[in-house]
Symmetry: C2
Subunit: 214 residues, 2 copies
């Protein structure tokens, strides 16, 4: 907690330890849950002493928060990918293929084992970490939704598509696309993610039901 202004030589030698702990804790938490994971196992998995864990994070709850908020970085990256995909559209006939590709990626990510495990983990602890759960939801699934909605609005603005309410359409697309699969998957850990044909079928169906273009 040093507040030295213009810190001259940031000693980054402690970063590897922190990163290793976060990585190890992420794996353990995702696999076993928060309560069932002991700090001893985390330290052992990170090849670090337990004291170092407590030096870096203070207590187990803070470590958990670091883990949960840490993975939202990948959600940000995913959002950027989606934004870029829609921003690359130049001509009206490119809209549908781009949207189909976006939906495919979206479903694949939302139904990937890691994302599902993270959802289970955060939902499981939502009662004990309410603000953390809300923050995760805001930064990950909801942020993706907003990103897609913004992408749709951008298409409209550039005269490439007609969408009345981009926010609603984005949400409808998402939940017709993978709502049922997501619901099922949350209760069935270990289920393999959808294969290519299944993804195509999901996208086809969502596209048919919601009709995002006009």
């Amino acid at each position: 907690m040093r507040v030295d202004p213009a810190a001259p030589s940031g000693r980054r030698r402690d970063e590897p330890a922190r990163a290793a702990i976060v990585r190890a804790a992420t794996e353990q938490f995702l696999a076993e849950g928060f309560q069932a994971t002991s700090t001893d196992r985390i330290a052992a998995a990170a090849a670090v002493s337990k004291q170092t864990v407590y030096n870096q994070f203070g207590d187990k709850r803070s470590l958990f928060a670091a883990v949960v908020l840490g993975v939202t970085a990948t959600a940000e990256a995913f959002g950027a990918e989606l934004t870029a995909a829609l921003a690359a559209v130049r001509r009206p006939e490119e809209v549908e293929p781009a949207l189909r590709m976006l939906l495919r990626r979206w479903a694949a990510v939302a139904l990937s084992p890691r994302v599902l495990a993270m959802r289970r983990l955060v939902i499981a602890e939502a009662g004990r970490f309410p603000e953390l759960a809300a923050e995760y939801h805001r930064r990950a699934p909801e942020a993706t939704l907003r990103t897609v909605a913004a992408g749709l609005a951008d298409l409209v603005e550039r005269g490439l598509a007609r969408v009345e309410d981009p926010d609603r359409v984005a949400a409808d697309l998402a939940f017709v696309l993978f709502g049922a699969e997501l619901d099922r998957a949350l209760f069935h850990p270990g289920t393999p993610p959808p294969d290519a044909e299944r993804l195509d079928a999901l996208v086809d169906h969502a596209f048919r039901v919601v009709r995002p273009l006009g």
Copy 2:
């Protein structure tokens, strides 16, 4: 574990104890989760000794299973209610009001605090109780979906509606109806359930998007 054939006098005097334990355990599990609930607290809340808990259920896991599968009885009752609502439809012009009423009830139940808490609880323990989680999903949300699909198919058979794929339409209705709300609510425990206007808006939207009638 006595297997007396033709047990003459069923001693139902132990039923109250069992029922009290299940009721108390349900409240505790829903509020605190499986791991954070001690059998001592359950026994105390049920006004019963811990020994009685172990006499009745053997161990904590079996008690948990009894709790989770116990609440699926209410899901069955709810399914019967929905079936009756659609079975009461006699004339084509009654279809839409009946469906709107059904969707309202469906959303209200799916987004009720107890159902949400149960979802969180079972999802949280899905890793440690895979078959139990699968069974719960099969008996509660999936059963409701199948019930609604069967009701739609029945309407079709009686010439009161035209629905191409009742299973898909039921799922689409459900997830356009409350998919987004359900997702949000899972991460925000303690949020009040939707009020009457919100429910109406959800139903309107789902009806507009999915158009179940032809």
